[in-house]
């Protein structure tokens, strides 16, 4: 009976693995089950700060990607609305990469991520004059861990008030 239970659990884990395409290790599955990552994009709120009520300050990216997820676009629309309401506020978009890449490429990747966010804010009516882009590459991680969850938190673009 006990064996049967273990067998069932194993099946469950296996099933979870099949569902999640980016399943590399059991640990990764575990973090996924906690609902903090989708694929390898961070979906948790651990590190997120708020520019205003309901306006998260950051969006997250998949490894080597600068594509905005549905959640990221929602965050950026909230930021755009907040910026429209506060026309005197300018922002710096700080682009970051995780530690699993070469330094120079990561500088460029951080810049590309911050620009993806900038472009989206601009399509929602925010003037490029109000936005500065600054890439930190992998120089300023928020999580110093060496694991997929930490890396997912570090692949980000953070909107910071400039004034």
């Amino acid at each position: 009976m006990r064996l049967n239970k273990i067998f069932k659990n194993t099946l469950l884990v296996l099933a979870a693995c099949l569902v999640l395409s980016a399943c590399a290790t059991k640990k990764e599955v575990a973090t996924d089950i906690q609902g903090q990552m989708q694929g390898d994009v961070y979906t948790g709120t651990d590190t997120v700060e708020y520019l205003a009520d309901g306006v998260p300050d950051r969006v997250f990216f998949a490894t080597n990607e600068s594509i905005l997820t549905t959640a990221s676009r929602e965050t950026l629309r909230a930021q755009a609305a907040w910026l429209r309401k506060n026309p005197n506020i300018n922002v710096v978009l700080e682009g970051h990469a995780d530690e699993r890449g070469t330094r120079e490429y990561n500088l460029a990747l951080g810049e590309r991520r911050a620009n993806a966010a900038k472009d989206y804010l601009m399509t929602y009516g925010i003037s490029s004059d109000r936005i500065t882009v600054l890439s930190y590459g992998k120089e300023r991680p928020v999580d110093s861990g060496s694991n997929p969850l930490a890396w997912s938190k570090n692949r980000r673009s953070v909107t910071v008030k400039a004034n």
Binding site: G101, T102, E104, Y105, L107, A108, E111, N115, S144
Partner: protein, 446 residues
């Protein structure tokens, strides 16, 4: 470090015998050549003279130690224990008793003499072939006493060159980024040291983030990336005067700088609107040229030693790969086709190879390939390592390695390492703080 400090008076005694000893440096050397570095002899008056100025009890022994250490770390030589030496240094320098040196299995012998002459340091040294019982080389230098470490490095270079047939790399310096503090808030400073780790000096204070310093192959200038005023830009630093100036003041981030082989241009990336392209700037007339024009990320450019080609990193195929093009940006060819991602290509000073970083299945490798991408060879595998820089003779690569942190995010470190082109002789280079982004200078003398 100005030119005037090294007054080299090369005299000397012609070499009349062909070398019988040959050290093959093209293969991994598992049997380093046994040799004896006899301490440089010194008379009592000179010894006292130097003790007063340099605070070193016996400068002759100190210089020999430098030579011994250099030759050992090259991995090609095995300096024998001095306790086994039978002949006194002064007599050995006059006329070695080859049977004695043969007995302790030394195949080569280095002897010499130090004198204090007119407030100067005069050093002569001789290299002997023990088996053939012949002198292979004899040289003498005169310089200011403070240069004593460099004298040790120059002797090492001469010995290396005589025994391997290739120029040495000991009279060189390494510029790197010193790192301190927690991983999330690293304090980074430019630092410089001799190739053997001596004379470490910090060049910036750590007030702003600095990255990727690179030597000018033709002078003691350095180019690097600084976040001064939160504007990441390429800067130029004169190590001798400490003067800094921005050279990549474009409307966006400039990064990944390197000098052209003649030292007259800086090649770098300029990132704007999510695209990074490669540009050059002529340092004399400040004329800027755009070399690549592609919506992808083009970065980490490095010239071939003849200046005719540029290798660089681009993700135009979808992922980071290595490319080669002509120096005007034409004729772009992808050269990396193995599994994984490729970055940080650096052209060997010998022209025949490109060193790179490769990421494959969660591991980082330092490797080399021919300039057409054939003959890929991975030298070392680790959790994280990147940014190889060549020794000026193209025989050794220096790079940095980072450690994995534990589940609490502790245990992070960054250190400099070197490895021979053969894949042997992997060594950590000691630095006072954590370190990354090393760049090797050209030979300071000759």
């Amino acid at each position: 470090m100005t030119k005037k400090i090294l007054i080299l008076l090369f005299m000397l005694i012609p070499i009349n015998a062909n070398a019988l000893i040959e050290v093959d440096i093209t293969r991994g050397n598992l049997n380093p050549l046994p040799l004896a570095v006899s301490p440089l002899s010194i008379d009592e008056e000179s010894r006292k003279g130097f003790e007063k100025i340099l605070k070193k009890e016996n400068i002759g022994s100190e210089i020999s130690n430098i030579v011994e250490n250099n030759l050992r770390t090259s991995g090609l030589f095995n300096p024998l224990d001095k306790k086994a030496f039978l002949q006194a240094p002064d007599i050995a320098n006059l006329k070695p008793r080859f049977e004695d040196w043969n007995l302790i299995k030394a195949q080569a012998l280095i002897t010499g003499k130090v004198n204090y002459v007119d407030d100067k340091l005069r050093v002569e040294f001789r290299l002997w072939d023990v088996l053939a019982a012949k002198e292979m080389m004899a040289l003498a230098f005169t310089t200011v006493p403070n240069n004593w470490r460099r004298v040790g490095h120059i002797i090492s270079d001469k010995v290396y060159e005589r025994l391997t047939g290739e120029k040495g790399y000991f009279d060189t310096r390494i510029i790197y980024v010193s790192e301190e503090g927690p991983k999330t808030q690293r304090i980074k400073k430019l630092a410089i040291m001799d190739q053997d780790g001596a004379n470490n000096k910090f060049l910036t204070l750590g007030n702003e983030l600095v990255l990727t310093p690179r030597f000018n192959p033709a002078s003691q200038m350095v180019t690097y990336l600084s976040y001064f005023k939160n504007m990441p830009r390429v800067y130029l630093l004169d190590i001798e005067t400490g003067t800094q100036e921005v050279v990549g003041d474009f409307p966006g981030m400039t990064f990944a700088p390197r000098f052209s082989p003649d030292g007259k241009k800086i090649i770098m990336s300029f990132a704007k609107d999510g695209k990074s392209d490669i540009y050059t700037m002529d340092l004399e007339n400040r004329i800027v040229e755009k070399i690549t024009n592609h919506p992808s990320i083009d970065t980490s450019p490095s010239y071939s030693p003849d200046g005719k080609y540029i290798t660089f990193n681009s993700d135009r195929s979808g992922y980071q790969q290595i490319y080669v093009m002509k120096n005007d940006g034409s004729d772009v060819k992808r050269i990396s086709f193995g599994n994984g991602l490729y970055g940080t290509p650096v052209w060997s000073p010998r022209g025949d190879l490109i060193a790179f970083t490769k990421l494959h299945k969660g591991k980082f490798y330092i490797g080399v390939m021919r300039t057409d991408g054939s003959g890929e060879r991975l030298l070392t595998e680790n959790y994280y390592q990147e940014a190889p820089s060549w020794s000026p003779n193209g025989r050794v690569l220096i790079f940095y390695r980072e450690t994995k942190t534990n589940s609490k995010g502790e245990g992070f470190s960054a250190k400099l390492w070197s490895i021979d082109l053969t894949g042997y002789n992997e060594r950590q280079i000691k630095t006072p703080t954590d370190a990354s982004d090393p760049s090797w200078s050209s030979l300071l003398s000759n």
